[in-house]
């Protein structure tokens, strides 16, 4: 069974660049389906409220139109939206997901129709049980319709532009006063250490106060084990300031 959290599809571009497409887990897909089902129900109910407007044309005709329109909405909902919104329905949009070609391309109309037409098999015997089982066991979290259409559902988390301004810019760095030790720190610190320190700084506001103190204390202690600055350079510096100064040295040549 596949790992629900870390599944990804790796794409290699002709330029040799490799990037992952994060695959949506069966659980999030089911939530999106739930939202979409609710959306279809809202549309059909609204249609039901508007249907009496056709009554002057006859009760029989009105009910026939409602039956056909409800069916068409159920069948066409996902097809139309996935075409208009490039692989997204309301549910997928809300949860930041998108259907894509297995090779990272956009969907063709054929792929959209096939994956939605074959939904009839995924729905069997009840509540998408067959599709759900295939989603859980297939390496790319694909239901039957996806396999036939060569499509995958990916997660599209919105990443903000990186902002490093909060780290150090224009602030006095007492550790930089000792360039020979700073150079040794750059030389000895591993990429992992630098990465952990930088990430901790960038996400510090997400931490609760106690966790923040403990995390920066642990990182500062680790950095102090790598190189040791004179006492006057570190006097009065909190652990977080020590890490901040160290990161400035590590990431600024």
């Amino acid at each position: 069974m596949s790992d629900l959290q870390t599944q990804s599809l790796t794409i290699r571009t002709p330029e040799g660049i490799v990037f992952p497409l994060l695959l949506a887990s069966p659980i999030t897909r089911f939530l999106a389906l739930f939202i979409d089902t609710a959306a279809v129900q809202v549309v059909v109910s609204t249609l039901g409220l508007l249907t009496p407007l056709l009554l002057p044309l006859g009760v029989d005709f009105t009910f026939a139109m409602f039956t056909i329109a409800s069916f068409v909405i159920n069948i066409a909902y996902a097809m139309v939206l996935e075409w208009a919104w490039r692989g997204q329905t309301i549910g997928k949009r809300v949860l930041g997901m998108r259907v894509m070609d297995e090779n990272g391309f956009h969907l063709t109309p054929y792929q959209i129709i096939i994956r939605n037409l074959l939904r009839f098999a995924d729905m069997l015997p009840l509540y998408y049980m067959l599709g759900g089982i295939f989603c859980l066991v297939s390496p790319k979290s694909q239901r039957l319709g996806d396999i036939a259409a060569n499509t995958v559902v990916i997660r599209m988390p919105k990443f903000k532009e990186p902002d490093l301004d909060q780290i150090m810019e224009d602030k006095f760095n007492s550790l930089a006063e000792y360039p020979h030790i700073a150079a040794r720190l750059r030389q000895r610190a591993s990429q992992e250490t630098a990465g952990v320190a930088l990430t901790a700084l960038m996400r510090r506001d997400e931490l609760n106060p106690q966790a923040r103190l403990e995390l920066f204390h642990a990182i500062a202690e680790h950095l102090k084990e790598i190189v040791s600055f004179p006492q006057e350079a570190v006097e009065g510096l909190s652990d977080e300031q020590y890490v901040r100064n160290s990161v400035d040295i590590l990431y600024r040549s």
Binding site: F19, F63, T67, Y110
Partner: protein, 346 residues
């Protein structure tokens, strides 16, 4: 080596923002066409972002910048390398009278298999009912078919009022929806390597055979033909078309005598499945109208000879349409898949 991240981001950020702006524009309006200058600019920005991703992946362990760039490159990649041919304008008349029947003929063997499975099911259902009439309720779990055929015929022929008055359209729409749903299920179950499709076709055949045997044994053959032929002559072939499509999917999954990989095989049959599904859905709309507006009326309202003739002519026309329509335009059809021999010779 760790790159000067702050300097790096400061220098590259304007290009990333511009690329993001392009991508947002495309997502808001997928039909938008860029000018040549914009295309060039977009391509350059994509290449820069790719190069930046390569740099940061190699030299720095800073995760958020890398994740941001990966997402940016992934979005741009789909736009840059989307080289598949855009679909031509859809012509519904040409599609129905040329593409659909041609697709049917291309996979006609699967249609014959679907027909044979249904016929075997019918024979089984007919024999089962004749051998054990008490099994009728099990074989035909429909209340309107449970009674005696003679009583039903007598009742229907004696009816003086229009029993369908006031809900013909509604009944028709329900038939369309039900039949199309059943057909799509038969089609989709091709994904079970055809087993589900064959089971549904066989079961459908059992019911059909049992109903036919029941009415024939009761001496109501004329009523049976007058009742079933007008709509059955198009409805039953439509279910067979669904079975045909399901078996085509199964054939692609099994892949016997096909040198292509599974993905390619499924890709090859995708359009054909859609053509068959679309075609059978249209025929079932017609079948729903006929069943509600014609099949439910019997003598003396509608003479049996008229209904039987109508159904027979319709059946002949349908098969003429499926086997002949669009043949003359075959040579100009660019949609048809090139044969393997043609591919190898080029």
């Amino acid at each position: 080596m760790i790159i000067d991240l702050q300097k790096f981001i400061k220098e590259q950020r304007p290009a990333w923002t511009r690329l993001e702006h392009f991508l947002d524009m495309l997502e808001r309006n997928p039909e938008r066409r860029f000018s040549m200058d914009e295309v060039r600019d977009f391509h350059t920005l994509y290449q820069r972002a790719s190069a930046d991703l390569a740099r940061i992946a190699t030299f720095s362990s800073e995760r958020s910048v890398r994740t941001y760039l990966e997402a940016l490159v992934a979005r741009a990649y789909a736009e840059i390398y989307e080289t598949r041919q855009k679909g031509r304008r859809f012509n519904p008349i040409k599609w129905f009278f040329q593409t659909f029947p041609r697709t049917f003929r291309k996979h006609v063997a699967a249609f014959w298999v679907a027909l044979i499975v249904t016929a075997v099911g019918s024979a089984f259902g007919g024999f089962a009912l004749l051998l054990d009439p008490a099994a009728k309720e099990v074989i035909m779990p429909f209340s309107h078919l449970a009674g005696s055929p003679n009583e039903r015929v007598a009742k229907e022929e004696a009816a003086e009022e229009d029993h369908m008055q006031g809900f013909k359209a509604m009944f028709s729409s329900q038939l369309m929806v039900n039949n199309i749903s059943v057909s799509f299920r038969v089609l989709a179950l091709g994904l079970t390597w055809g087993i589900g499709t064959i089971i549904l076709l066989f079961y459908n055949g059992i019911i059909l055979g049992a109903v036919a045997a029941d009415y024939v044994a009761a001496g109501e053959t004329q009523f049976l033909l007058g009742w079933l032929l007008p709509h059955g002559s198009v409805e039953i072939p439509s279910i067979l078309l669904a079975g045909q499509a399901g078996l085509v999917i199964a054939q692609a999954l099994i892949g016997r005598n096909d040198p292509h990989g599974l993905k390619q095989r499924l890709k090859n049959i995708g359009p054909d499945i859609i053509h068959l599904a679309g075609g059978l859905a249209i025929i079932l709309v017609w079948a729903g109208i006929i069943e509600s507006y014609m099949s439910q009326y019997h003598e003396p309202v509608l003479p049996y000879w008229l209904k039987i003739s109508f159904g027979s002519v319709q059946l002949v026309l349908l098969f003429f349409f499926l086997f002949k329509s669009g043949k003359s335009a075959k040579k100009t059809n660019k949609e048809s898949r090139p044969s393997l021999a043609r591919v190898q010779s080029t």
